[in-house]
């Protein structure tokens, strides 16, 4: 226990927490959107994220020939590389998410089965994806070469804002804003909201259910892919099971804010990112993973529907 660290390291912890928090926000958007339409935990979302991180690494390594020793780039090339990595990561994650829906959910949904059946097939998909990547990468962690040189934008009293953290915070906020607008304003967003209110009624209103669900997975996947790219920019390494802990944390964040509720994912993600940084500074990093759950249990005890809750239908297994 070391409480003095909170005082002395307040701003660095705050910035780290925000950066981590925005990554959580983007991943939990993937969970919360799928949950909104299907009322299912998409267990394969962590693998969607993992494949996004690998796409980023592969593009910067093979297409742009970066390696561990190469110098960070700058100028127009930097922007080009970053954009390509981002697009590749988003495209991979988006496509994988849609495929996951086709393989793990669609047939089971057509048969009108219980929810746990889909849960198990999603777990199966998740195992297949992560094991496939494990075999291809020989279980070894893969490092992402440094494309963006990590300089401090400014420092005040020794507290600096690093460029990659700045990028995560800004891009995270932008992506979240974009998804939020997409769901709130567009016609398809309206259809998604309708399906999440009532599947049956929206079908009666002439909404193509399968199409809406596919689009939901696609949007969730794209945002998760963006999160994967941002994660690689900050942490610069990936491994076949990178999605596991991040996925659990992001889902927890979604639940924390009130799952099925986009704004909830936003506040939940930030709360969790900050809580994790501060608690692990006080308690020691080995307890970092526990703080996620302790925060969750405490919040649910006080507010059973999440912080910014939305009443969730009773689940029937």
């Amino acid at each position: 226990m070391n409480f003095s660290v909170v005082g002395s390291q307040f701003f660095p912890l705050l910035i780290n927490g925000l950066a981590l928090g925005f990554i959580y926000v983007l991943i939990s958007v993937g969970y919360t959107m799928v949950y909104g339409v299907l009322r299912l935990i998409n267990f394969a979302n962590s693998e969607v994220f993992m494949l996004g991180t690998f796409a980023t690494v592969i593009i910067s390594r093979t297409v742009f020939k970066f390696d561990i020793n190469s110098k960070p780039s700058h100028g127009m090339k930097l922007i080009l590389v970053l954009l390509c990595c981002l697009l590749a990561s988003m495209a991979t994650s988006g496509i994988v998410a849609v495929l996951v829906e086709l393989i793990a959910y669609r047939r089971l949904r057509a048969k009108g089965t219980n929810r746990l059946g889909s849960l198990i097939s999603a777990i199966g998909t998740s195992i297949v994806l992560s094991e496939g990547v494990r075999l291809l990468s020989h279980s070894l962690p893969v490092s992402n070469p440094r494309v963006l040189s990590k300089f401090y934008l400014f420092t005040i009293h020794g507290v600096g804002l690093r460029i990659d953290q700045f990028l995560v915070i800004v891009a995270g906020a932008l992506f979240f804003f974009a998804v939020d607008r997409f769901v709130k304003v567009t016609r398809i967003g309206k259809a998604i909201r309708a399906v999440s209110m009532s599947e049956e009624n929206s079908r009666l209103m002439g909404i193509n259910l399968n199409r809406v669900i596919s689009i939901t997975f696609l949007v969730g996947g794209l945002v998760t892919g963006a999160a994967a790219f941002l994660y690689e920019t900050v942490y610069e390494t990936t491994v076949f099971n990178v999605g596991f802990n991040l996925g659990i944390a992001a889902f927890t964040a979604a639940v924390l804010g009130g799952i099925g509720n986009l704004r909830g994912a936003f506040y939940g993600g930030l709360t969790l990112g900050l809580a994790e940084e501060f608690f692990s500074a006080v308690l020691g990093t080995q307890w970092k993973e526990i703080t996620v759950f302790v925060v969750l249990v405490l919040v649910l005890l006080v507010r059973p529907n999440g912080l910014f809750g939305e009443a969730i239908q009773q689940s029937r297994v």
């Binding site: 089971l108 746990l116 059946g117 297949v128 094991e131 969730i312 009773q314 029937r316």
Partner: protein, 363 residues
């Protein structure tokens, strides 16, 4: 799709008591002889390439069946999604390890203590969380499983990452000793526990708790309106399931003689849940079948060692797509009232009689 469960149930209902008892005895006897089934040349295929067949029968097969039956009470009977079942297994195993190495109690004396601790953990976890619904419960139980594992990992007095070695084997009963060299004896203990659990679940299912669980599973709001004290029965379901997990943990620790935190990961919870859903939630025989397949199959395909998890995942996807309700799904009795069932029964009897008279007339 052929419906094995209905065929089996039909056959069973047609038998009288002595026939049923005889059948049960034959099955139990056959199961008890299973450790020796790999001894013949034509059954050699049972022997798995790396670990011995007899050892596999105890862990994972026997243990997974036991735990899947325990989880089935929580998930299958009462419809509460528990993603942290491994926590109770860990609590049982660590109770056995701590009491076994630090006190003079033997494993048979520790068994009820381990079950008690697991049950206590179930109640303590259940009291606040069982008020939550559905997926919140799932995520909180998952968190609990991880909290238990990480707490063990970070606590040096229980060995931290190294675990606790030297957990004693149980003392001999009926002159049968227990040690690692002879897993068959452990297998018989596990079978005895499984039989006990099957008996308990079957009794509970037709009595008040079972009916309360069924009501909660089908519609909790209606159950509350009908005066079912739902929280109390949910906690019962949770803690009975936990106690079975704890018992499995105690036996596991004393058979392996070592407990270490890396055994108790989230994957185990997922695997046990897969056993329940894969076999057919709520149906004991389905759950046993599912657990047997899912625990034995990965060991059997160890020869493709690196890709076996991949094949396991593929098998899960394919089977769930083909049989979404599991291999042996539970009877869907909620659609039929008692009269309708009586009617169906008498119609069936009439059909049988007609066939019989028809045959006799032909002859």
């Amino acid at each position: 799709m052929i419906n094995l469960r209905d065929k089996g149930a039909e056959l069973w209902e047609g038998w009288n008591r002595p026939k049923r008892v005889a059948f049960a005895f034959i099955v139990v006897f056959g199961v008890l002889l299973l450790p020796y089934a790999g001894n013949f040349s034509f059954t050699n295929i049972l022997n798995t390439p790396i670990s011995s067949y007899q050892a596999i029968l105890v862990y994972p097969v026997g243990m997974y069946i036991l735990m899947a039956l325990g989880l089935n009470i929580v998930v299958g009977k009462s419809g509460l999604l528990d993603l942290g079942y491994v926590a109770f297994f860990a609590i049982g195993a660590y109770t056995a390890a701590i009491f076994g190495t630090k006190t003079h109690l033997n494993i048979w004396e520790i068994l009820p203590i381990g079950m008690g601790f697991a049950m206590l953990a179930g109640v303590l976890l259940g009291l606040p969380t069982l008020r939550l619904r559905g997926d919140y419960l799932a995520i909180v139980t998952m968190g609990f499983g991880e909290i238990v594992r990480i707490a063990i990992l970070n606590t040096n007095s229980v060995g931290g990452p190294n675990g606790i070695p030297g957990v004693p084997n149980p003392p001999p009963i009926f002159g049968q000793s227990f040690d690692l060299a002879d897993p068959a004896h452990f297998f018989w203990i596990v079978v005895a526990m499984i039989l006990l659990v099957i008996w308990m679940v079957r009794r509970l299912s037709v009595r008040r708790p079972g009916r309360a669980w069924e009501a909660i599973r089908q519609d909790e709001d209606v159950a509350i309106l009908m005066g079912v004290p739902t929280l109390r029965y949910k906690i019962w379901s949770f803690s009975i399931g936990a106690a079975i997990g704890g018992a499995a943990g105690v036996i596991f620790a004393s058979q392996q003689m070592l407990v270490a935190p890396q055994t108790f990961t989230f994957n185990v919870s997922v695997l046990i849940l897969s056993c329940v859903v894969f076999g057919g939630m709520g149906n004991i025989w389905g759950v046993i079948l599912g657990a047997t397949i899912l625990s034995y199959f990965p060991e059997r395909i160890r020869f493709i060692s690196s890709a076996r998890q991949l094949v396991f995942g593929l098998a899960l996807i394919i089977t769930m797509n083909l049989r979404p309700d599991g291999l042996l799904p539970r009877k869907k009795r909620e659609h039929l009232s008692q009269e309708e069932r009586d009617e169906a029964k008498s119609a069936k009897a009439a059909l049988k009689l007609a066939k019989k008279t028809n045959r006799e007339a032909v002859n």
